[in-house]
């Protein structure tokens, strides 16, 4: 069994509970064990870094230190949490002064940021530690009847100086995952584009335009569903779908699945077990 510390993303604790629920269902099937970090806090959602760079370093230095205390890598299943925590790690690793300042405070909680734990996305762990071949062998219900549009989202790709796994403009890991699960991955121009989540509350019209474009292409290429490794992208593409498509005068709809749900389906779990029925578009 491979063990990891698992970061609890705010959105997966509130609106997209199905993400963690589906991971809980299948983790053992793939020889994985995710130890939930109940002491971890909100990463700041790509906002805290400019509201207060110092608090940003403290909060995320602490999130990583919690994993380091267990001697485990930190696994994240939200793109923005991933990018945010990795950005903080980079800043701490590059600045001995900042690291010292953060550690002076963390000491009071019995923690220390050393920089020894890697911060990784669930998708990367599946691709690298389990491997596509091993996953292929575990598949019970191949997704052979499905044409799938892979929507990566931004913060698993960019900035590449912080992420650096996939080609930021021509990614392939999620496509390979779809193939490993027996599905057909579609050429999808919007696969590396933005969902518009981060401006939903400050520039709603722009966000809806952004989301509508991604949805429209997936509908046009006749995808059976969109899959995304990010619960924030899911919230826009599923939760705001009706609003975005109405705004763009498009009369259609398309289901959107989380990566964790797609894996669960191929491993033989039902839509009900995985929480797919909780989606707005079903």
């Amino acid at each position: 069994m491979k063990r990891y510390a698992y970061y609890l993303s705010c959105i997966n604790e509130s609106m997209t509970k199905e993400v963690d629920r589906s991971i809980d269902l299948w983790q053992k099937d793939l020889g994985l064990e995710f130890v939930k970090l109940h002491e971890s806090t909100c990463c700041g959602g790509s906002n805290l870094d400019y509201v207060s760079p110092k608090h940003f370093a403290l909060v995320n230095g602490r999130n990583i230190a919690l994993a380091e205390k267990l001697g485990l890598d930190l696994v994240v299943s939200c793109n923005t949490c991933l990018m945010t925590i990795r950005t903080a790690k980079k800043k701490l690793d590059e600045s001995p002064e900042l690291k010292q300042e953060v550690n002076e405070l963390l000491k009071k909680e019995g923690l220390e940021y050393r920089g020894t734990s890697n911060v990784r996305h669930l998708l990367w762990v599946l691709a690298e530690d389990v491997g596509f071949e091993a996953i292929r062998q575990k598949v019970k219900v191949p997704l052979k009847n499905y044409r799938i549009a892979p929507f990566y989202g931004c913060h698993i790709l960019r900035p590449s100086t912080v992420l650096g796994k996939d080609d930021p403009l021509e990614p392939s890991t999620l496509d390979m995952m779809i193939e490993a699960l027996g599905g057909t991955t579609l050429p999808y121009e919007h696969k590396n584009r933005c969902c518009g989540f981060h401006t939903l509350l400050v520039a709603e019209e722009e966000s809806l335009n952004v989301a509508a474009e991604a949805l429209e292409e997936a509908i046009e290429i006749k995808a059976d569903f969109i899959v995304t490794p990010c619960p924030l992208c899911h919230t826009v593409l599923d939760g705001y779908q009706a609003k975005a498509l109405k705004h763009a005068n498009i009369h259609s709809s398309i289901p959107v699945f989380h990566l964790s749900e797609m894996v669960g389906l191929a491993l033989g779990y039902t839509e009900k077990q995985l929480g797919i029925k909780r989606h707005i578009v079903t």
Binding site: C10, G44, L48, L58, L201
Partner: protein, 344 residues
């Protein structure tokens, strides 16, 4: 193995440049022309286009000048990504072709098209004017020409990278929000604005910042990092955008705009609960009326699906919150002390 060896030793091959064509005075709609020419390894996309213009089809239109990645004239989309034709090797593009051996060349996005690969830069220049993308000196007129402005190395470092911008407009072409709304300030203008606002010689910081926080300004960026990823000069544009936001909160306060309120909410929630209180985030960002008008129909659907975020009292604080809050507040004291010493 053989293929790799062949590629290594191969010096020339026939390659097709599939070029976007549109002359609004003649054509009813855009189309593509394929030009297949023999290209040597080491040749750039711009030299290939120049060859086509000189020897194959003189009507193909594009802008180019320095041929050395300095002037920023030859920005275009090559295999879908905005970049400079003069610094892009044909050979490097071969692995990125959707159809083997066919390199697709299109004009930059998000700007009006003039002809073929030429776009109209005027809307961008107008925005640079609107956001005062120049230094207005704070030196009294009586001293101009008599005194020098000295800039320390530390000061210069703040905008050193931003001065590398050659206005090629690749970032403008790749911008997600500009594509969604043409009034948006755009990344290049935000970068320039940041560069002017951190310059100690400048006198109109507050005026410029006042414009930047308005609608279609700095808070509308959706952090997609496409601008930064495609910048031909590798400028960390998002650092500049975040720099303006940090400055806006410091100078104008966190209650100033919906963008600032939204960002500040993260700070508040982390200190209180360690978790984001999503249920009240729309109200704290835009007020009750906006939330009811914009989110009520969706909230009903979410309630039906039991997807609504829990109300504030039901958001479970992170474990060990009491101790963490002490650290968080101690960091607040560090920041205050630092700001005080800065002001001195």
């Amino acid at each position: 193995m053989t293929g790799a060896l062949e590629l290594h030793t191969e010096e020339k091959r026939d390659i097709t440049l599939r070029v976007f064509r549109f002359n609004p005075q003649v054509d009813s709609k855009p189309y593509f022309d394929d030009y297949t020419i023999q290209i040597e390894k080491g040749i750039t996309v711009l030299r290939s286009l120049n060859y086509i213009k000189e020897h194959v089809d003189a009507s193909v239109s594009f802008r180019a000048f320095c041929q050395a990645g300095i002037c920023g004239s030859c920005g275009m989309r090559i295999n879908g990504i905005s970049k400079l034709a003069c610094t892009t090797q044909v050979w490097d593009e071969l692995s990125k072709c959707r159809e083997a051996g066919i390199i697709k060349i299109e004009p930059l996005r998000n700007m009006p098209l003039i002809k073929d690969l030429i776009v109209d830069m005027d809307p961008l220049v107008d925005k640079m004017k609107h956001y005062s993308n120049w230094i207005e000196t704070r030196m009294p007129e009586s001293e101009i020409g008599k005194k020098e402005f000295l800039v320390s190395e530390e000061e210069f470092r703040k905008y050193d990278k931003a001065t590398d911008c050659i206005l090629c407009a690749s970032c403008v072409s790749e911008c997600t929000i500009l594509r969604a709304h043409k009034e948006y300030v755009s990344p290049a203008v935000l970068l320039k604005s940041y560069r002017m606002n951190v310059d100690t010689r400048d006198a109109i910081h507050d005026v410029r910042l006042g414009e930047l926080v308005k609608d279609h300004g700095v808070w509308d960026c959706t952090h997609c990092y496409r601008c930064q990823e495609t910048c031909v000069k590798h400028i960390p544009i998002m650092d500049a955008i975040h720099g303006i936001r940090e400055d806006a909160i410091e100078v104008r306060g966190a209650r100033d705009t919906s963008g600032a309120k939204h960002a500040e909410a993260f700070m508040e929630d982390i200190e209180k609960k360690g978790k984001l209180v999503e249920a009240t985030l729309p109200i704290r960002t835009n007020g009750v009326a906006w939330t009811l008008q914009n989110l009520l129909p969706m909230a009903m659907k979410m309630i039906m699906k039991r997807r609504t975020p829990p109300p504030p009292p039901l958001v479970k604080p992170a474990k060990g919150m009491k101790k963490f809050r002490e650290l968080f507040r101690e960091m607040t004291e560090h920041v205050k002390a630092e700001q005080k010493s800065h002001k001195k």
